[in-house]
Symmetry: C2
Subunit: 343 residues, 2 copies
């Protein structure tokens, strides 16, 4: 609207000129400071600012120690709905506190993650939520070194000596209740199909599966753990392996990750293997596609909403009190009943 003579963006100085006051006053009007300003002056400033379209430069304001107004969420698997959904919620919560948040995807690549974090440090973000690639702790050093408050989301660190603020869900419990659900239904030959990865979350799931078997008095040789990469193809391959032993050796399977689950279920579908008639199934996770499968799958549902809220709250909290002792919050999963288990 306003004819801007120069290419320069409009500054506090322009507003001060226009309103016939000092830049200090303008600054105070636009900070929520205590300083009292006579209503008519404030009015004049606001009006002048509106007329020339002034918007405070957050970058400039941050270099004098003010908050930057920028947060970041760095996840390793952005495509994973579990993370996507939490990201969306975190962003919207942070927005209510006046932040802009940048979403970053490391794609499970540690180098990439490091690059991303360096860029974020350069941006002097106010805080960061990190779901580390491969559950590697190394890159958190960057954040600590630059005193950037952060909370670790979902990906815990194997044998860490440090205490991080952490929000995650109980992977052990997820697999445990999944397996127990099948045991309760009478199954004894239960396989576990999962991701072959060094990250602890994955190992915890296998442990949960094993513990459930133990609780029902099944010995180690009754275990049947299939692992592979995190892909549909791997899932198909596992389903193929399982179907060779169907009925004979295996009557049920815990699908430990939805990417793998997708492949396995497609294989079943395409080879006339029906659930729950031919094989009983529980899947960990609730991807959107699960909603269109019939019969409905019994799934392990993680409290994505609560986790997102807790994570955002914890980060905002930690930004306010950086030196407070770290907090760990582990959430439990629940069963979302379907019709994929034969009694």
């Amino acid at each position: 609207m306003s004819a801007q003579k120069t290419g320069r963006s409009v500054t506090i100085k322009d507003v001060a000129n226009k309103a016939g006051t000092s830049i200090a006053t303008v600054s105070y009007v636009f900070s929520n400071n205590e300083r009292y300003i006579r209503p008519d002056l404030r009015e004049r400033v606001l009006k002048a600012a509106a007329e020339i379209g002034y918007v405070k430069n957050a970058a400039a304001s941050s270099i004098r120690g003010k908050r930057r107004g920028l947060l970041a969420v760095v996840v390793a698997q952005f495509g994973n709905t579990f993370f996507t959904r939490m990201c969306v919620e975190i962003v919207s919560l942070a927005r209510q506190e006046g932040y802009v948040v940048t979403l970053c995807n490391s794609d499970e690549n540690v180098e990439q993650e490091r690059l991303i974090l360096e860029r974020l440090v350069a941006q002097r973000i106010d805080g960061c939520i990190l779901s580390s690639a491969l559950s590697l702790e190394d890159n958190t050093a960057l954040l600590r070194q630059h005193r950037i408050p952060y909370v670790v989301l979902e990906r815990s660190f194997p044998n860490s000596t440090l205490q991080h603020d952490f929000v995650g869900h109980d992977n052990f419990q997820s697999a445990f209740i999944a397996t127990r659900r099948l045991l309760d239904a009478g199954h004894r030959r239960i396989a576990f199909a999962g991701w072959d990865s060094p990250i602890p979350n994955v190992r915890d799931r296998v442990d949960g599966y094993r513990a459930a078997l133990r609780e029902y008095g099944l010995a180690a040789d009754q275990e049947n753990v299939l692992t592979g990469e995190l892909s549909e193809a791997a899932g198909r391959w596992m389903a193929e392996k399982l179907s060779g032993t169907l009925g004979a050796a295996v009557t049920a399977v815990v699908l430990g990750h939805h990417d793998i689950a997708k492949g396995a279920l497609l294989y079943f579908q395409d080879h006339g293997i029906r659930w729950p008639e031919d094989i009983s199934v529980v899947m960990i996770g609730t991807p959107e596609w699960a909603g269109v499968l019939r019969p409905r799958l019994t799934c392990i549902q993680r409290p994505e909403h609560e986790m997102a809220v807790a994570t955002a709250a914890l980060l905002l909290e930690r930004i306010k009190t950086p030196e407070a002792p770290p907090v760990q919050r582990i959430f439990s999963s629940s069963i979302l009943e379907g019709h994929s288990i034969r009694p």
Copy 2:
């Protein structure tokens, strides 16, 4: 590593001290400027910087007219895989050019979008990709006023007098080829289930549907357009309406949006209405869940990858040459054949 005495983050000055040189030299070392610096001095600076963990403050550097290193992508429906996929690609392309990009979701809410854009202006982003809420042009004024280069993605503006840089796909053509595919298969009673929205994309699809019918000599009274809100529930409702007239009046349907499609297909599934036996189906869009439905759906696939690349390239281009004339790029869709059409 380095013992940082103060809470202050390490600055160019610290590096200069440590390296025994001036801040100007340090600044030059960290800018890719022409100025020649003797190799050993440069070495010393780099070493000092590494030792105390210096990372240039992008915020401070930007206030003297340097690029900010920040881009934004603002979409109206972040949950929509069409947008999500493009976002992920755009982010990764921009990263290669050294940018951090922030992803924002306006949730089809114009107020929200305005708030987001104001925050982004405050951050003095270098550029923005915008898929406007409700296809409303108003908020683009903010961007123009602050001279922020932007490209409009997918959502065009009804009767705009302005020329924006634009990348989108041909909604008319998408619906046209979908409908024609059904006509080619011999169907004559074809319904269209779509979103009841003011945005032009939506109207274009209906127009495409109509044009195809016209081409096959079908009159206006042979049209059957169902519209409703963008939700699964609406889809179910439309399917219910259609199934009342199945066989009788309608033998095929074009599902114009995947949210609606999902509801409709679930309704069909849950009521024993099979495709392609009982009804032939083409869906516009390729959500992930489509991959698990059997029989496979015939879908209209938009060139998400190409569009993302084009959008990112165009924005980067426009940042370099802000005054160049606007570019419009419209992409065509293609048919992804499935088995949901009865010949």
